[in-house]
């Protein structure tokens, strides 16, 4: 079995061939589904827990604190301990809650994150599903998550939850536009909606560099709108703890709360991964025009590492926002979207179109 850390396609190919030799095509598909499912499940669990730890540490350092230090060296096992605690907690169900929807909501939220993760290209060939409409799929599937939040707020029979859910609905429906439009700006440049194709198209240079001004604007618009879509940072109105105690997940406890919590962090990863894939060249290494030696050294770093370095850069940026800015009010959030981001975005698309048509990009 040929295996290379630089190209996973041969590795996945060999698994596929090995399976189809032994099983029927339907059986192969079934086994592959299970494998992909388990891998994504493990990835979500491990990476989600790690992100929670990273957020705690990062925010602690912003605030001149040490953060978790007790469980394990530098508190590394802290989130696992917390997770075990959440697993063992009692699941409380409010009286007169809509039982079915109440229990369904956390699953919708967490399943959506699994679906979105499945199309992210981690490295060459390391991608569960390579749709030819990958960008479109991610933007549409992440918007489904809001249904889970709305259901959670509606079914909890709690007014704080309801207000939080309604805010979240208004917010995500608005910001969906900006996410989509800022991605379209790059799609114009790339000429494809397929995520692997977009990454391949950046072999000559990352889009944030090749598209220069409109791409940089689109990148920042995407990061802002993405933060809003994950209900984070200055846009965490849905759970604004100083106003709504905990917003839509006020009534959730134990593992159901953990689902919301985990989903928030995995969503953060998805937004960062999308930003990385579309703007920052995905798993492509950093290259400078004609510095051959430098480029060669960069090539030695495996693509997976490149991908995660970039993802962590974006995640850090979003955390930086969260731990610096005050929260916006609901009408201001909508004003920001409709009066600022949307016009800028539309103008940006026109600019990008002109640049692509005139060939002014690099």
């Amino acid at each position: 079995m040929a295996f290379s850390i630089y190209d996973f396609s041969s590795f996945t190919q060999s698994i596929h061939e090995g399976l189809s030799n032994r099983l029927s095509p339907a059986g192969t598909l079934a086994v592959e589904w299970v494998i992909v499912g388990i891998v994504i499940l493990l990835f979500v669990a491990v990476f989600g827990l790690f992100l929670v730890y990273a957020e705690r540490k990062v925010c602690a350092f912003f605030q001149q604190r040490l953060g978790p230090m007790r469980v394990g060296p530098w508190g590394l096992v802290q989130t696992i301990a917390d997770f075990i605690k959440l697993l063992m907690k009692e699941l409380i169900q409010p009286a007169r809650a809509d039982k079915f929807l109440y229990n369904l909501a956390p699953f919708i939220v967490i399943i959506v994150t699994f679906l979105a993760i499945s199309v992210i290209p981690f490295a060459k060939g390391l991608q569960a599903f390579d749709f030819d409409i990958g960008v479109f799929f991610v933007t549409s599937i992440t918007a489904v998550g809001v249904i889970g939040i709305l259901l959670a707020g509606w079914s909890s029979n709690n007014k704080y939850s309801l207000i939080g859910a309604m805010r979240s609905g208004a917010q995500i429906i608005s910001y969906e536009l900006s996410v989509g439009l800022s991605l379209i700006t790059i799609v114009i440049l790339a000429g494809t909606l397929q995520l692997s194709g977009i990454v391949e198209a950046q072999r000559a240079g990352w889009f944030i560099y090749r598209g220069h001004i409109p791409a940089i604007i689109a990148f920042f618009v995407f990061v802002i709108a993405g933060t809003a879509e994950t209900n984070r940072g200055p846009f965490d109105l849905a759970e604004a703890e100083s106003e709504l105690t905990a917003g839509f997940h006020t009534e959730y406890s134990g593992i159901k709360f953990a689902f919301f919590f985990l989903a928030e962090y995995v969503n953060l990863f998805i937004v960062s991964a999308m930003a990385t894939t579309v703007f920052l060249g995905g798993w492509m290494p950093l290259h400078f025009g004609n510095l051959e030696e430098f480029n060669h050294v960069m090539d030695l770093i495996p693509p997976v590492f490149w991908f995660f370095i970039k993802v962590f850069f974006v995640i850090f940026l979003i955390m930086w926002f969260k731990w610096t800015f005050p929260r916006l009010r609901i009408d201001q959030i909508l004003t920001l979207e409709w009066k600022f981001l949307l016009p800028i975005n539309l103008f940006n698309i026109i600019l990008m179109t002109v640049i692509v048509l005139m060939g002014w990009h690099f």
Partner: protein, 372 residues
């Protein structure tokens, strides 16, 4: 949606209990809100969850025992509360305390005001969602608490002023520490502005929110920085100077924009003023005794005595009715937070929930001060 359609949708006011355990009520304050969507139609504060009956307790305490209880009322301006009680008792007895005591009391009042405003600043940021401000504010407040601890032996409930003077003389290290703190905080206060004041989101959240004009402020008896932000010149330090305030020159921080941002800016300006007051006094503390020896049993002559001081939240008053015995017949605290809370409904009516939180933190409510 056409107008006819809009009429068909029935909207309904609903009640929300904000508190008693709520992150932004800063204690056990319960607000019964009538909301329509996000708009606040009515705020009904329910208080008394930590009513401790301090006024009743004082009726059975001797006069020197009262200041320790007042510490526990508005714990963020503990020293001002003590000072008010001590000044009231001293006035009633006709005791003139030495200048040294006056100077030290004033320095402590201003340090306490700084500490209180620092905590207010971090909580204000946190209420608006900027969680980092909380730690920066507490970091700086810690320096003041260290100064307190070194001289008074306690960090929060100081019990430093006693009728007739002070509990101890200042610590030999006190001057150095205060200078050190002033130099430190002069560098850190501009950071507050960079982090929060100038921030466009913060400005949007506070500018023009919760406008409360001057007439209403006086009518509702809103004092302190919240009153001064509406142009109500109510600084007791200026109008009825006590302790060493006649000896210092300072500006009363006034604003006439009446909104939440004005209340915020008045407090930031007060921090600068407090630092300048401390700077004027710290090197000129006269030598002398730190207390006047009172009789073993303090008995106030029969009569009524009223003393006001400017606490960090406003006009703090002590009203003692004495019948000549060793404990007061009736003792009333006019706490600034109580009057300020009474204006919350008028201030926040018609604004959104998020604005209510901003308005509430700009009033700087301390619940034990309200409930007493």
């Amino acid at each position: 949606m056409g107008e006819a359609e809009q009429d068909r949708i029935e909207t309904q006011e609903y009640l929300v209990n904000m508190g008693p355990q709520h992150p932004s009520t800063h204690g056990v304050l319960r607000l019964l809100l009538k909301l329509e969507g996000e708009i606040v139609h009515h705020v009904d504060p329910h208080i008394g969850y930590i009513h401790s009956g301090i006024e009743k307790m004082c009726e059975s305490l001797t006069y020197p025992q009262i200041p320790y209880l007042t510490d526990r009322m508005d714990y963020l301006s503990a020293h001002m509360n003590e000072e008010a009680v001590c000044l009231c008792i001293e006035n009633a007895l006709g005791v003139e305390v030495p200048d040294r005591v006056k100077y030290i009391r004033t320095i402590f009042s201003e340090l306490q005001r700084l500490a209180s405003h620092q905590l207010w600043w971090c909580v204000m940021g946190m209420d608006l969602g900027a969680l980092t401000t909380f730690f920066y504010g507490l970091r700086d407040r810690e320096k003041i608490l260290d100064i307190f601890e070194e001289t008074c032996g306690a960090r929060l409930t100081l019990h430093y002023s006693i009728p007739g003077g002070l509990m101890f003389d200042i610590h030999p290290n006190f001057r150095n520490r205060v200078h050190e703190f002033l130099n430190y905080f002069r560098e850190k206060l501009p950071e507050y502005d960079q982090l929060l004041t100038g921030n466009v989101i913060f400005q949007e959240r506070t500018r023009g929110i919760g406008i409360f004009p001057r007439e209403a402020v006086i009518n509702y008896g809103v004092t302190g920085p919240s009153g001064r932000a509406s142009g109500f010149s109510c600084d007791v330090r200026k109008h009825h100077p006590y302790s060493a305030y006649p000896f210092v020159s300072f500006q009363e921080a006034l604003d006439d924009r009446c909104d939440t941002l004005a209340r915020y800016k008045v407090r930031i300006r007060e921090m600068w003023e407090s630092m300048s007051i401390i700077e004027q006094l710290i090197d000129n503390i006269p030598e002398g005794d730190y207390q006047v020896k009172l009789k073993g049993v303090v008995k106030l002559p029969e009569g009524e005595y009223f003393q006001r001081v400017e606490s960090a939240r406003g006009d703090f008053g002590v009203f003692i009715i004495s019948d000549g015995k060793k404990s007061p017949y009736r003792l009333k605290f006019r706490s600034p937070g109580f009057s300020n809370l009474s204006a919350l409904h008028a201030m926040s009516k018609g604004w959104k929930i998020a604005d209510l939180v901003a308005i509430m933190s700009s009033l700087d409510l301390v619940i034990p001060d309200i409930d007493r």
